[in-house]
Amino acid sequence: MKQFLSFVRKEFIHILRDPRSLLILLVMPQIMVMLPGYVIKNEVKDIRVTVLDQSHDVYTTQITERLATNEYFIPKGEVKTEAEAIDLFRKGEIDLVVVFGPEFASRLLHSQDASIQILSDGSEPNQASVRVAYAQQVVSGFQKELQQQMASSRPQVRGKGGITGMNIKVNSRLLFNPQQRSEVNFVPGVVGMIMLLICCMMTSIAIVREREMGTMEILLASPLPAIDIVLAKLIPYMVISLFNLATILCITNFIMNVPMMGSLFTYLLVSCIYIFTSLMLGLLISTCVNTQLAAMLISLLLIVPTIYLSGMVFSVESMPETAQIASNIVPTKWFISASRKIMIEGVALQYVAKEIIALVIEGIIFLLLSWKFFKTRLE
């Protein structure tokens, strides 16, 4: 243990003595979080929509049918209460809920203020607004046709100054992120990126440096077991990642006022698992290359697809199918998805079980592969 600790101490000296790596490790992450997030608008397809119908009359049925047959929508049945709808949102099974107010048909015909409310998932604000707009188009298309029908069958309506009847009031409401703030959406992605950068790139560089300098031979010729050497290299980066996580949470919470809706414990758990997976990826890279430069290039090559595929900038749902399948092997995708659910929607642990399992499996695969490569290298 004492041998191990003197090794960890040495690793910290390396880091503290190099101003460039200090800057990358301890200043850049916080700056990245503070930078405003610009999220690009995406095309939205396959909107999973469910209906909360309090009237069940001829018009609500017609609108529901139009939604169901529209190419942009996938009908997901009906719910009875708003609570039921919110639960479906949390599980990630629907994207939109169309709520028809009570006595829809009679209000539409007589008092002229029939109302529709559209609920959407605000944790992805840009997509949410596009989804709502599509739904509004369907409703206004229906309204127009209805007005024309009425006008031709009951021309007397026209006499009272144009088509005034048949107004459907549509209002939309974003759930989970009612202010529609993009930084809320941006934070999980940035945290995912920073962790990958530190755990994956910096760790692999630190390990490869020993090999490049020739000190690895000396270490291997010492009685220290190989596993201790690797662990001692990983620990400082794990500590730094946890420190960054803590400061980022403070910045987002107290300065940017991004609330943590779910439990902090769940979020930290998922983050720790993601840190583990990223460290193992860094370890794997370090066993594949011989120079620090190569380690850095490979890490960067991994980071670019991560930006595109993780859902950090572009939503996974609006990607082509092949890209969606490919996104599953990007660990950051799972982390971002889980942290959005926890931070913004406030779901409990069991709803992010899929993400956790994916991260753990990937981490273990990276670990086994690195162990295999490490063994062959020794010979």
Binding site: K2, Q3, R9, K10, H14, M213, T215
Partner: protein, 247 residues
């Protein structure tokens, strides 16, 4: 130097696919001896040395170092040896003292003992003023001496030196060999590979490897007599030109 055997190799072999890097090598090294391990590039010296250090498993044959089997007891082997590789291998961004503290630490020495030894060592080397100096700003000769001191910092029974004086000027090489003699006087067995034939003359006994096999093994004086040469260079040239392997 005593008659006690500290390194014993019997038919030690390392094969990579069809290529036999080290081919049934047999020799003994005695305690306190300076044993020169010579051979042209690619002769299989480094491979043999790596096996003796417990860094690589023999394909056939066996070897014991400090009484421990290199194939099965490499942890114990590593505990009793020091190793200095071809590459200069100190941490550039650590001070002299930090480097020594680190290596003392990974060999399980207590902080108190490490401190005492550092002071002794630096005084002995006349190096006390450089205690807090970053290793990268030291001249190469000093780094080399420091690397050797590190290799024997934990008082190993045997120290393996893999071409320790590559790229160092003759005066520094001479000084470096003074350190090697001092270590041998303290009873540390020195196992050294080199390309410099004048250095071969400094060894108690020398083995010369050609194409993975040991072709000659004796004291420099006996070897010169046997091969009718005036210097170790003549001996080495007589043997090495028969080599079929190149780099």
């Amino acid at each position: 130097m005593t008659d006690k055997v500290v390194i014993k190799a019997e038919g030690l072999t390392k094969q990579f696919g069809d290529f036999v890097a080290t081919d049934h090598v047999t020799f003994e090294v005695h305690e306190g001896e300076i044993f020169g391990f010579l051979g042209a590039n690619g002769a299989g010296k480094t491979t043999a040395m790596r096996m003796l250090c417990g860094l690589s498993q023999p394909s056939a044959g066996k070897a014991s170092v400090a009484g421990f089997d290199v194939a099965t007891q490499h942890e114990q082997v590593k505990r009793h040896i020091g190793y200095m590789s071809q590459k200069f291998a100190l941490y550039d961004d650590l001070t002299v003292e930090e480097n020594l503290t680190f290596f003392g630490g990974i060999y399980g020495m207590s902080p108190k003992k490490v401190k005492e030894k550092i002071t002794d060592l630096l005084t002995e080397l006349g190096f006390e003023s450089e205690r807090k100096t970053m290793v990268k700003s030291l001249p190469l000769g000093w780094k080399q001496k420091l690397a050797f001191s590190l290799a024997i910092f934990h008082d190993p029974r045997i120290v393996f030196l893999d071409e320790p004086t590559g790229g160092v000027d003759p005066v520094t090489r001479r000084q470096f060999w003074e350190l090697i003699y001092q270590a041998a006087d303290r009873g540390i067995t020195v196992f050294v590979t080199t390309h410099y034939m004048d250095e071969a003359e400094y060894c108690d006994r020398v083995s010369i490897m050609v194409d993975g096999k040991i072709e000659a093994l004796d004291s420099p004086a006996n070897l010169k007599r046997q091969f009718n040469g005036n210097s170790m260079y003549d001996v080495f040239y007589a043997l090495a030109r028969t080599a079929k392997r190149g780099d």
